[in-house]
Symmetry: D3
């Protein structure tokens, strides 16, 4: 039925324009965001039939979130509409060196946090679906959200749906110990794992080292088929180091980044996931190409405002082609 189903929280993002501080601004720009919705939108735009599952309040803010996902072609017919819970919000204050971008979350008691077990019919949703994606944020939202996420993972495994998971540890949601206790059991179900280097150590508890070594440790511990790592906090920039790397089938792959003038980097990691999965679904043996798609689409995501992707497939492919021709001519 769908190429991709994602599950998680989506929020209304309110940001101060023109590098104003939140205290200072008299208007806010509205966008929507949320790791799993970002993946669904970015994937839908480049050609995956995608559905986003969440819980939303039956009010204008809830409808706005669903509308904007639908605007990009994401199926929203499996959203759980609720009279309880609010729309999660987050306020963004864009930084300029030496002041960093600051995020003020106001997401407690959201509709997703109040979702009830069995609220989603995963059994039905997963017939004929190719990949399911969620992140470590979802179980951090509430205990019941964690329960529903676990229901989804178990059902996906049962239905032989490929499971993709982004660790995405959020310090402001829960501490490392609680996160580890909940996330480690989930990893048993994961086929494709996305994780930053710093989350490997602080959440998975694996000793720091080079990317390859850490990825291999994850493989040894969880048997994950594909492990994709990105440098902690690194943007997808040109440089000596890899912007992203992967370990799969006993081999290690690395991909360099692009020269990026950042307009808005929020959501770039989620867009990376969408690019990777798009390529991976089309050819599971070409991990290097999947990294290329992920890095290219993520670089493009930095160049316009908002969390969600406005990138088309031909733009990703053209950027990859230019990079290759540059590398050849060197």
């Amino acid at each position: 039925m769908f190429d991709l189903i994602t599950f998680g929280e989506a929020m209304v993002r309110l940001s101060a324009p023109d590098f104003k501080r939140l205290e200072q601004t008299t208007t806010l720009d509205i966008n929507i965001g949320g790791a799993e919705m970002n993946v669904a939108v970015a994937a839908a735009r480049i050609g995956l039939k995608s559905s986003f599952v969440t819980a939303l309040p039956s009010n204008p803010l809830g409808r706005m979130i669903a509308n904007k996902a639908r605007e990009h072609g994401v199926d929203t017919s499996h959203i759980v509409w609720s009279d309880n819970g609010r729309a999660g919000l987050y306020f963004v204050e864009f930084g300029s060196a030496p002041r960093g971008t600051a995020v003020l979350y106001d997401r407690a008691d959201s509709a997703l946090a109040q979702i009830q077990p069995d609220a989603v019919d995963w059994d039905k949703l997963f017939s004929n679906t190719r990949v399911f994606h969620t992140t470590g944020i979802t179980p951090g939202v509430s205990d019941t959200a964690a329960t529903v996420a676990m229901e989804a993972l178990a059902e996906a495994r049962r239905k032989k749906v490929l499971v993709s998971f982004d660790v995405n540890y959020r310090e402001r949601l829960w501490n490392r110990e609680r996160a580890r206790a909940v996330l480690v059991p989930m990893l048993e179900y994961v086929d494709v794992l996305f994780v930053t280097e710093s989350d490997i150590t602080r959440v998975l508890g694996i000793e720091a080292g080079d990317s390859e070594k850490m990825a291999r440790s994850i493989f040894e511990q969880f048997g994950t088929k594909v492990i994709v790592t990105t440098a902690s906090g690194a943007s997808i920039r040109e440089g000596k180091a890899f912007a992203a790397a992967a370990y799969a089938g006993g081999r290690f792959y690395g991909e360099r980044g692009y020269k990026v003038e950042t307009v808005d980097r929020i959501g770039a990691g989620d867009t990376f996931v969408a690019g990777f999965l798009y390529s991976y679904l089309s050819d599971k043996t070409d991990i290097q190409q999947a990294l290329q798609y992920g890095v290219a689409i993520s670089a493009l995501k930095h160049t316009f405002p908002g969390d969600i992707s406005w990138i088309n497939l031909d733009e990703v492919q053209r950027l990859i082609a230019e990079k290759e021709s540059r590398e050849i001519s060197r």
Copy 2:
């Protein structure tokens, strides 16, 4: 498959903010509009499963039009994407008495104007569809658009899909003679006809008179099942006259309007059609209720910017209920 399929041209609307003149403004507000798309959006929001069929160029403006229809839940998977033709545009300058609102159309050579016969698979689309709606604008766009519209009407009749048609004569597209020559043969296929009093005389060539008499003349001439008339140029305002009237099954129905503070009246007539059809599909015998829905949703459409509807079903029903309780208490 769908409750409602509409076919016609959608355009990008560019309007000067704050009552500025076009010559004067330094920014433009973007909305999208087009009679048939407006009907599809308004209907989708209140619960009809709707699809909008058109032709659009494969560029950002074309995609924007499809996105915005999809944002409201309208199916856009049957749009014909084209490398020929441009996105139609229209510029709006809002007026304030004694200066009227002015529209500058820039729609020539649009993708829809260049649509080719057989571009749409009406046969497939009309299986399982309840109502098809188009307007007199579509055949005015180009000869091939007229051909495709006629294909649709004929196929709808063949498939016993209810046909809804809004005369919507546009002087700037074609003159009365050409319009009459093309539109009159189309009326043979129409089950529910929407027409302003002035179009009855200038396009259909029927003598002016009271609403009821003119509607009966149409019935006598074309055998149209339901004829809905609105006072020429009238907004859906409170007053002695009916805001809208209908003639069906030999009976005449009239519905009064609301006190309206107009923010943007463009598209209000299309929203009326959506409200009427919504109610009519649920109960074909209650013409009075269909008028109520049409008038109420149309009144609400005047109260926010843009051509397309942002109105939910409960808002329409609440407004009707308030009106009824007011009328009872009088």
Copy 3:
């Protein structure tokens, strides 16, 4: 120390510009509001030394609320700063007939809702203070907020500080029974009561009748010194009926309204209170003048965006003078 101390919740108000619907807007205008803060600001601008007591979170939104009160000269040094609780929010969608203005509250779990008993040193605050004002919203926010409000009322009575109270029943906070159970005991402490005609019946449980009769019933039941009533839902408009009325010392006073072109009516009732109290503090025997000040400042409040007052004393006095000269010349 202060002419006026008010206590209650202040929120960040986020409104859609230009009559857009919330679902539709891409930006929000920021203002701050809250019944008791509105009174403090309006009073400070016309010359009362005012302090606003509340609880706010130590984050940019909390600071923004305090800043904006301070901008108008309100003392904010007695605000309770908290690491718990969020800044209350409310979203406004301005209406245009027949669509009403809609408010979406998102105020649960605010810092004020989580205030603890004894968090405010009322004893110290009330030395040398002339009037204390709060509303029926505050005890509706949470049980502890109700407790702190009751502490304030009791302490004010003890210190012989005049107590002003606006019933301000909010259906979305609590039901009538709960409101009545909490508010009626509070009325024992009130010297100047502001109440709409509809709240007199639905909250105080007093039979509907004319203003004077209802006010007298309140006096008989609670012995309130001054009872100020405003027509339910009425704006401060020109007309035959009184815009506001008062019952004091066994006498009834009424004041007519103004011709008003409304830009934003939210907060107008609170500004009325400020105008009334300003005049009343300067001359407790001239109730008619207090009504004049209240009605005039409230009319002016309708004419610019935002909940809070930007009106100066000379503007109020000039408007009253013009009205008087008009009435004389008739």
Copy 4:
């Protein structure tokens, strides 16, 4: 050389958007204005070859004023550019009843206030010119501005250029006595006089009465060929009274107004002058038509933001034709 030359001060106008109060706003909208420039712009747009003479500082604000006049086709090659003096400014706070629109002038020490006698070569400018227009504001700006205005009037008379003059008394520039002392001698040179009813009494010292009587008094005192009066403070509105009236050749003419929804009325009087002069220059015997043009263009001026006219000749003529057909059909 020119159909019309005007002389006076032009300023940068800074206004608060959306009915905000000046104290409240965080942005200002920029327009330019000034009675004589307004006349030149409005006249140029409807077909008079116009030149605007003033003094401006050689800085971005000065250039902006000249640019905007030139944008509408007004000749600016006779502007006196100066290193002394500033660009006059005025701040506008739009009102909404019962709060009136407020203007804060900040025009002292402008470049025009510092203009020197003989700075303008009137002799050369007035060869081949049909009408010269200035207002009572110009001599109020400074003594030297008054001197230069008088030079212009005298030279115009010498060259047999028609002289048009709008009394336009501004209380904030000078008191009635000083204004009268300066303006009355100027009236000797005036052929076409524009004056509000209230200025007739407070500046010219003529007893109040009906329009016709007051106009005749002016004629008797000054021998002015054409005297055009407008009701004091009246907008060009539909109603029983005349919106404007004229006395010429011993006859009295009156013209009714239009239904007007006002967006911005500043500059409407100046636009009236332009409309009157346009018609008068084309036919000096048809005073009624000149009033029609003045009233129609002035009504249109109310409908968009800014002091200056964005109206074309065909719009004026269409409005007049509609009015006439309405009056006939009554």
Copy 5:
């Protein structure tokens, strides 16, 4: 009569603000642009008496284009006003690395494309004119536009008006073969040629090489007096290479660029032409100075939004002086 006459198409430019994608934006910023108009505006601002000749539709968009040229002092009295044809439009999406700036042209069937031979009286226009400038875009607009351009070139030669020409090949207008067939015959009439290095090879068909060699080839083939080349796609940036170079009188001249923080580079090449011509007209022997003026004004053009120049002569001269003093002090 004029120092400079330019002929070509001017369009309304609609751009998405704040690096938004076109699909994403809800407002558009309006500017006007067009290679030949840009030259006329930039030249007029620094002191050349300039006239811009084009064809425009008699509607608000056409008037807006003329207004904005006139705002900067460009003569617009020779524009051909037309009831046929539309105003050309182009949509701009500003890029940020690695996403490039994208332009969506919507210029087909413009008024200029429909211009008729003999529509412009070149004979009259060229008496007393010093230089005529057009570009390779104009003949690409339509066959009749090419005809009128050729009429102009021939008449300029006849009247001994200096002819300036910018090759400006636009792939989206026509292919190289058609461009070459039309443009090469035009070069016979050209005195001062502006051409990028890449256009020398792809349009003129001259073998790639260093600037000097390519310029000499052009001279040998066409006998062009002055050949000005700019590095393909290069902005006017500081660096080792020349930002612009010229070949004249058998000598080669090169000029280095500036450190530039780009806000909007569109139109910078046209501004370069204006700077070059300004200096060249004042001293035809000082080619190095003409390059200096061109490079300096073009660098300044990058620093504000819009295609057209807002630069004054003193700013250009100050920048050149600073550069010279920097170079001396090294």
Copy 6:
């Protein structure tokens, strides 16, 4: 009573958005600024009880200035409100290389310029005050402003209030000779002097040299306790040179800068002063720490729009801590 009192002129700042040129913009952003007010605001936000003394006109612009200072917690109760004089204005055009930021002052005849001797009761204000700060701008505003500044300096010395002074020479206010004649006598009263390297030579007439040598010359000439120098025109940037240096107690201290992406540098120097004084008041022996605070808060000031600081103490301290940990890890 206050930790800090500052005295000087505050103005309304009107700036063109988005790198537009002033001539080009149609809106202006409003901020407030003025060296001494900037110091008071920045200091109040990080914890000093501050009062700002100035003269302001009793109009909306004057009130706006006081409001905005009060918004940040600055005491404004000692402002001299005046019916004479205007609010000083300045227009800002933000630059982008190679075009510099340009300021157009329009501050003549401000309320402060017209302040009268003895208008401020310094005697009362300085009881219980820790530091008084003014700058070399204040005496440049007018002779009477200079007189009042001198009254303040003398009274501060008498009351043993620490005197802080920023030379801040403004070429557009007065020439070097007049500045020197007025400022040098003031330096006798100064305890903490802030001065750029270029002002040391051009205003104080001390020979150029390295920072330390110049500072020592000042000490030798005036006996100033603490002399803080900043590199002329330098922003607070990372680099080899010191961003700021100080000479005190015979020792020289230097502090390096930060990597800064500048949004708006205006007011950064004033914010530096506030940071320095904050630290210095808490520990007069730790000059190095005072430089750290000054440099850190000044770097942060560059990162948002407006002259005034929106920085909190914890942000300054966190930035310093990060810098130290970076330096340690090197």
